[in-house]
Amino acid sequence: MIIAGLKLTKSGGIAVLRDRRVEICIDFPAGTDVDLDAIPAVLAAHGYAVDDVAEWVIDGWNGDKNSLIPVRSNGVSAELTAAGYQDGTVVPEPDQPAVHGRFDIAGQSRPYASYVHVASQVAAAYSSSPFGGASATVLVWDDGCFPRLYRVTEAGRIVGDGALFPLPGHAFALAGQHFGPSHGAAGADADSDGDPGNAGRVRSLAAHGRVQGGVLAVLAELFEEHFEADSAAARQYRQAVVGCGGTAEPSHRYVHAFLRDLRSRTAGVADAHVLASLRSYLGSLLVERLDPATPVNLCFTGSAALDPQWVSALREHPAVEALWVPPFPDDSGSALGAAALHLGRDTGLPSLDWSVARGVAVARRPHVPADWTVAPMRPEELARLLLRTGRPALLVQGRATVGPLALGGRAVLASAAVGGIDGDVVALCLAEYAEAVFEPGTEDRYGQFEHRVRPEWTDRIPAAVSPDGTARVQTVGADDDPILRTILREFHAWSGVPVVLGVAAHPYSDVASALLAGGEDTVWSDSVLYRRAYSA
């Protein structure tokens, strides 16, 4: 049976399950409201017709009971009713559909089921984990909810276990409006419910700072005062904000108040130090409050699971026997999770047959844009080109990766000695050399944990090193992306450096669009090098 999971908020995305096998898991191109009329073409590009889909499932969104999601359908704007953000009194069973409805796809009305958003994330984490068939604890801390615990039973049923503390995950991103270069931008003082900002950018700022004991003490006081105290103000907060989505409740207003007080109480302390301290404080809270009675298999998911420092801290928790963080802990896994929930609605969450390379496929086009030259080039030759020229190259190969973490078929690569690429850079490292270059350097196939660059390597891969001496590392072993591994092996053979720098690229669906986007002068795809004519 083929199930299509849909995420219709933000840019949206679709996942297709053929029984337990993940066939597709892609985000739609960024835009405004999701256009349902575009779904047939997306399916067709990956070999599916709309009528192949037996069941349609929609991920829930902001709302305590249900959500209203704006979409484009039949060429006009419309609203779909979907499930809300999380389970609770209205939806006591997170693994059962909360809403049923109908929508038009390809000119035909079709039924859909919708599950609460947080349950989609629980399902995406558990069903992709190595814990299938065993019980596990799932910790979800997404932008719009508190850090919530769920227990997945051996039978694959999801049971809610409450929240660790009453703070939505977007709080750290919002801190970027109070500290750092964005301080004073719209929203910081306006109780905005708008986009909280980019947590990754705040982490980058925090990497320039050091944790300060005085700031930690202030944070503990303010956190208690604003969110957990038995005071009228804190009680009012907990009544008004339950973690059902950033736009469904006034959570931003309260978090902004907390952050304003933090800024006031830390005047004179460098912003980077405050952010580093805040990051450390929240990570410590996660670890302290996670206090299971017995050792557990833990899945950590939600946008907070993109923070390698927090992920690493949880891995060290004495009660965590094994930790699994899906490479798609944020909304990129929500469509997949919704489909998995539906597959397991009667039989329990399935263990999925999946790969990180289930994103957009590369379509072949008969023409190359003008002003681009083509040349045959094996991956080994590409590695030598990176080394010889010191210039970056964009890789457009096979299926794009799912989620924001793992690099694979859509990445800009460069020598880590030279750099020259912007963004959240990743040190791609041959797995067998990772422990020699990084501490701890243990297997990290999706770039999820915190690693420090060993001192003897900092001068050899300077572009991979963050100001705090850490690096995002993705180990590439024999079972991982064969093209990346070939490039790394050849680069190592010629330079003695088992690391190549990478950054995620747009999930291009064909080479021509990558060339026309104009980001890089050198693009490699399927053993062909595309180079802007006479580019220097």
């Binding site: 020229t389 092996r489 053979a493 010629w494 053993s527 180079r531 220097a536």
Partner: protein, 330 residues
Amino acid sequence: MTSIKEDNTMNQAPRAMVISFQKSGTHLMQELMLELGYRIVGVPRPRPNAVPEFDDEQKAAVAALVLDKIDHDQLMELHGTAAFEDRTHEAWGALIWHWQQRLGQQVVNRYGQTRINFAESIVTNPYLPFTRFADTPAGLCWIFHELDIHRVDGSFLSEWVETQSPPLVLNYRDPRDTVISMINFLEGRTRAGYGNFYEADIFSTILASKTTWEDKIDYALRDPSFLARDQFQKALWLLNHPKVCKVRYEDLIGPQGGGSVERQVDAVSRVLHHVGSDLDAEEIAGKVYNPDSWSFYKGRSGGWRDRFSARNLARFNEQFGDILEQYGYE
């Protein structure tokens, strides 16, 4: 470019060519020629300190072979820029593929038609096909697995007959061991897999589908298109030509591979003499055995005895008994 060792350049040929059968210890020949100061072009997988490194003057000279006068003049105006580096690198690539074609190499099936097309798109000098092998950069040893006299450009043969340059060396091995080595290679038992020839993917899959060594060997002997199956027949002209230096894997491998010092030094000495080197053969011989080579597996000879069944041996003798005799293995 790192040139042929200074103390050895008076008599040593500026260019050399080695025809080394597949799975016959090409890496040994590569190590030997590197010791003589040559850089390597051809079928060996490129690696640091083995590929040519040209200075700007040499890059310009290579580009002059490949580009017409106008293009070359324009290129020279780019001197000192990244574009100069890119375009001279492309010119060198085009020159390599041009000569691979003229020497009758199996480019299309091994590397793809696009290599030829790309080279042709770079070449603007109409005189390039008329240039001689002696016009290629000095200090290089070109290593190939075959030199098929029915495919090679006659102008190269004419130049070779006339000048005996480049000196030709033929390296071979017991054909029964090459069959076993090829199967090991295609099944990925060598250090770095089975290399870059596209055709290898095909035979690797076929061999993996055969469950016993007997079946694998039987297939290798019976499929006329199996890799390197006809290399011994096609090189009989090289084996019999008095101006070609012949060496055997079993001799080059030396004591570390189960051979003897005497035979190894003798083989190296003959190669040195053939290319005009006055380096010390004994010293060089001690450096040619390199288990770090990417295509290295066991580096032993006579392994076929452990793998050939009586049925395999009977078929081999029936099909290749004469070859075995001509190459001196019976």
